[in-house]
């Protein structure tokens, strides 16, 4: 029964986890801006969120079938969900990181992460308010 109190938080919690995963992807892109041959990656956020909340069927993630296999960390996206960025300009060393676009995406993701935090806080506060006793008039 208690999980009905926190079920409303599930959507935002999933969004928060995806936002932090995207933040890590963008940080990897920025870190590898000078690496020859590096391919910039990003995720389609709305699609990934729909898959995570069950609206869309999920493509199978990596599984470990033998002892030597490395397992993906909890919450990591399958490699098929990560898309490659289209480079705006070609580069002699075939590096596809566009620094301006990565920085813009990073700021965008940061603001949306904070927005998600505030939504969660608002919902938590609403739930707590509903539990407070009514002040006798």
């Amino acid at each position: 029964m208690l999980n009905r109190l926190t079920d409303s938080l599930n959507f935002q919690a999933q969004a928060l986890s995806l936002r932090s995963e995207r933040q890590r992807l963008l940080a990897s892109n920025i870190a590898n801006a000078d690496t020859p041959g590096y391919q910039a990656r990003d995720i389609d956020f709305s699609r990934a969120l729909r898959e995570a909340t069950g609206d869309l069927p999920v493509m199978p993630a990596m599984t470990t079938t033998q002892s030597g296999h490395m397992s993906p960390p909890a919450g990591a996206l399958a490699d098929s969900q990560k898309l490659f960025s289209q480079p705006a300009q070609t580069n002699l060393d075939s590096n596809t990181v566009d620094m301006d676009r990565e920085r813009a995406n990073f700021v965008d993701n940061t603001v949306k992460y904070e927005a998600t935090l505030r939504f969660i806080n608002g919902q938590v506060r609403t739930t707590l308010d509903a539990m407070k006793p009514v002040n006798a008039a």
């Binding site: 933040q23 890590r24 992807l25 963008l26 920025i30 690496t35 590096y38 960390p73 996206l77 938590v124």
Partner: protein, 138 residues
């Protein structure tokens, strides 16, 4: 939580860019060195970057960067006719290093921009994580 990895990723990038700056500084310091008796002038050095996994042992999605190797530029040094120089060879030529100051300055600007960008990424991640810790506090 996956955002903690950002410190590993950006930390590796900052370290790699600072090695690149070291190499630029070495090259610029040796612009005017002259070949010694062994006839080998200073050769400009270059760093090569490579993607490196900086996550935990079984985490394959944290793509940091590392310096794969420091290679030397093999093009011949600058030859200047100066018979009075004690280092001149039999024809009166002195061989200086093959460092191009303009290229090194461009390298330095690019390295410092990348360095600043990665520091900014780390600061932002730190701010967001601190705010996440405040979750639920009214």
């Amino acid at each position: 939580m996956s955002m903690f990895q950002i410190f590993n990723i950006s930390g590796s990038a900052v370290s790699a860019q600072s090695q690149r700056l070291n190499v630029v500084a070495s090259n610029l310091a040796n612009v005017d060195t002259v070949a010694g008796p062994d006839r080998q002038p200073y050769k400009a050095r270059q760093v090569t970057f490579q993607t490196a996994m900086v996550g935990a042992r079984d985490d394959m999605t944290a793509a940091g960067v590392r310096v794969a190797q420091v290679s030397e530029d093999q093009s011949p040094g600058r030859r200047v006719l100066d018979p009075k120089n004690p280092q001149a060879d039999a024809d009166g030529y002195v061989t200086y290093s093959n460092v191009s100051a303009v290229e090194e300055m461009v390298n330095m600007i690019s390295a410092s921009r990348s360095y600043q960008n990665n520091i900014e990424v780390m600061n932002t991640a730190k701010t967001l994580l601190l705010k996440t810790l405040q979750l639920g506090n009214s």
